[in-house]
Assembly symmetry: C2
Homo-oligomer: 223 residues x 2
DNA sequence: GCAAATATAATAGTATTACTATCAATAACG
DNA sequence: CGTTATTGATAGTAATACTATTATATTTGC
């Protein structure tokens, strides 16, 4: 899979950026180093000025790619969920048994990323850390309805609904497939966060356990 | 219950504030109006200057109560979860059957607040809206470990673990009680958010449905 | 190979945010 | 009635979140 992914260009909604960062070395550097810097100091403390210093480039140059740091985070999230979608499709095609397919899908979206799947300038391991720590901030803003209308969260919603399709195959009678999947996807990010920071309210302790919890949950709910 | 609650003073960790807002009219006004203003413009756009204008008071006076807006939000959250804890305790004492007790508990924490339980200066209906929209921001910061050590999230964790106790009564064999409860509590806030803003990835549409979904989920998982 | 177009860097500047400090005015309390 | 605590007003600083302008590279198209 690695080789396939390394050749694949992940498409992100054009409205998210001013100029496509994939089209220039500086753009790629912005993406690459912003991931590292957000992980290092947190999104709240992250500024374009600090990023400029980090990449030896000018603040104003970064503004030519992204309007503001919020949009940059939306871009990184979109990239992440787009990447997830590819992983999902790859892992589930040709599997006939719906239950097995669902287990694969849940595993993909709930497991912690431990390896870096060699996309040249994007460190998936660290990007996953950012998504765990900051993803809800991309949607939880006053502008969510406007941005949703503009398609900023399309890929995320598509990932959810792809899994919803599998859930319906497993049990067409189950009345809450969408809520179940959005609970699993969002919830697993939250469980990873708790594992790291608020250990007393989670049973998950390594990468395996969060996935185990949700595999068990889905099995029980859909039988 | 309303009358009991209106007499009750909810206790919040002293480290969260500079001066206890409950001890003065200005303090109460800060709490009251900050809830309205955060709901109105969102936490990201909320500033002490704007709040000062809104309450006809000086920015610097607000700083005498709260170090910064983050701490104010942590205060509001603590108040909210403390209130939840009271509601939980009231609704579940004297119920013998663990299953019934759990159903009551899940209902309390997952239902949308529709009435204002007459705490003089706090509008619980709007506070609930803020928690839905902004709660994760209180924990998802770079300072979470330090603040957790200082006990900023104690009440929240106590609410979770109180319900965990009931889950264990219902099914002592179930291996993930903490993750289940933290998924339900956090997840229900998320579902309420989706219902409001990203309707295509949730089945919940009114207050009832979110609770129904989680009641059903818990029943299936714990049988 | 050179002109034209494009991308980047450097600098400056503005409005807002997130505070801190100081001092005067007022209210509360014993 | 005087002390103390509380609030208000003003000022000031450093950082943030940008925008605008101009100079300098770099690319590319003919």
């Amino acid at each position: 899979m690695n080789t396939i992914l390394s050749n694949l260009k992940i498409k992100v909604n054009e409205k998210i950026y001013v100029k496509d960062p994939e089209t220039s070395p500086l753009g790629k550097k912005i993406v690459e180093k912003s991931i590292l810097l957000i992980d290092e100091i947190g999104f709240d403390n992250f500024t374009f000025k600090k990023l400029g210093e980090k990449i030896g480039s000018n603040e104003s140059s970064i503004y030519r790619y992204f309007e503001n740091k919020h949009k940059l985070l939306v871009y990184l999230s979109s990239w992440y969920w787009s990447w997830m979608e590819y992983k999902l499709v790859f892992a589930t095609t040709n599997i006939v048994d719906p239950k097995e397919k669902l287990n694969k899908a849940i595993t993909i979206v709930t497991e912690k990323i431990t390896d870096n799947a060699n996309t040249e300038h994007i460190n998936e391991f660290i990007l996953n850390k950012i998504i765990i720590a900051e993803f809800t901030k991309t949607v939880q803003t006053k502008e969510v309805d406007q941005e949703n209308k503009e398609g900023f969260f399309l890929i995320y919603k598509r990932v959810i609904n792809r899994i919803v399709g599998i859930v319906k195959e497993v049990n067409p009678e189950y009345p809450f497939p969408k809520s179940l999947v959005s609970t699993i996807v969002e919830g697993s990010l939250h469980q990873h966060f708790l594992t790291e920071h608020l250990k007393t309210i989670t049973d998950c302790n390594e990468s395996v356990s969060t996935t185990e919890f949700y595999l068990n949950l889905a099995k029980n709910v859909l039988r």
